[in-house]
Symmetry: C2
Subunit: 229 residues, 2 copies
């Protein structure tokens, strides 16, 4: 692991956005101090370093904070680029633009859809949010076909930006299956994503960072107590 | 102007996101074919090149589409980088990360807030959305103080990524003033942004691309007929 001296990450173990950043740091072999946050009782540290959103993840490098997980992943790729560490973003400008487009789509459409399943107050609302999530995943199945070009990952032969952007959500899909018996990525509906998800979960750089589903269930129940009335 | 052969932009003259991309292309001195779209009656071209969102802007380079205005601006900066054209994003990774953070903030918080003023169905709702917009602008005043480091623009001595990200919204602020008599950027409340906005509106690379406020008023009235009941 590259020693980075003054590198800290404010996180929450079950946040997909934090998992995304931890996976990026792991791909680069960068060591850092991880500081778990209580999002229901925000620390002075979190408020100081992310005063605008007061959200995790926050990467603090030599005392300077970087917020927003996709911006952090780009930062990590730029700062620890070159050498033996694999690139996260594609090198080609067009492929980079396409990766950024789909990453924004994942955060703007996929995340609120599955989070809607979790926060749904009624069965009808839950069914509607499941449908929304499935519709988004059908678009992502098409994206995979185009981006991977027949290879194992969105990024080609190895994990890249879009693999992290989508892959960090997968353990929440397992969590929703356990809680509500809903299957979001299925062989029959999105076969490419189903086999990609299997490969992603086994990839060396990321597999140890996938949170425990029971921990996510516990967090989800706490969220539902706070948000669902 | 650099001749780019096969470069087309699907746009809408009064869309801030389209204006942002046109300003980026102008900064690079790149020529392109501009194709105005009717967003109330989407063309086969728009649906083909942006099937996911069916929104402008879409930049089509050698027949391949790029969507999402911030991704397009990064693409333009990467493809037409180097040489005599000015850089749009900062060179330093930390400054890039900060610019990306605030650009996301502008699109996620500022745009929906002022668009809410436009679409408000009642005076109460309008007042609430004005307050939201002003609160966002106070954060952006602080961002300007930090990013500009005493210089003329977010990008330093010349216009950069964040100047485009925020500056493309300015003509809509004038439009809202004309329609509803609301003042969003004011000397008294956000003095740095007020003088920045003046400088931005006079900058050579962008001033000819600012849409006519009367056209924006006309478009806004059409939107209100469609969206406000």
């Amino acid at each position: 692991m590259a020693g980075e001296g003054d590198l800290k990450l404010l996180g929450l173990l079950v946040s997909p956005f934090v998992v995304r950043v931890r996976m990026a740091l792991s791909m680069k072999g960068v060591s850092y101090e991880y500081i778990e946050q209580d999002v229901f009782n925000k620390s002075e540290l979190l408020i100081r370093y992310n005063p605008v959103h007061q959200k995790v993840p926050v990467l603090i490098h030599h005392g300077k904070p970087i917020c927003e997980s996709l911006a952090i992943v780009e930062y990590v790729d730029e700062v620890w680029g070159g050498g033996v560490a694999p690139s996260i973003l594609p090198a080609d400008p067009y492929e980079r633009a396409i990766a950024r487009f789909w990453a924004a789509y994942i955060d703007d459409k996929l995340f609120p859809a599955w989070m809607g399943v979790l926060k749904a107050a009624t069965e009808e609302e839950k069914a509607e949010k499941v449908s929304q999530t499935l519709a988004v995943l059908v678009h992502l199945e098409e994206a995979f076909a185009k981006c991977s070009d027949g290879k194992a990952f969105f990024g080609g032969d190895t994990i890249g930006y879009l693999d992290l952007a989508l892959g960090c959500n997968l353990f929440w899909f397992k969590t929703l299956r356990k809680m509500f018996n809903v299957e979001l990525i299925e062989e029959g509906r999105t076969p490419l994503l189903a086999s990609w998800a299997q490969r992603f979960s086994e990839a060396a750089a990321v597999k140890d960072l996938v949170p425990n589903v029971d921990k996510a269930v516990e967090h989800a129940k706490k969220m539902r107590r706070v948000f669902v009335h």
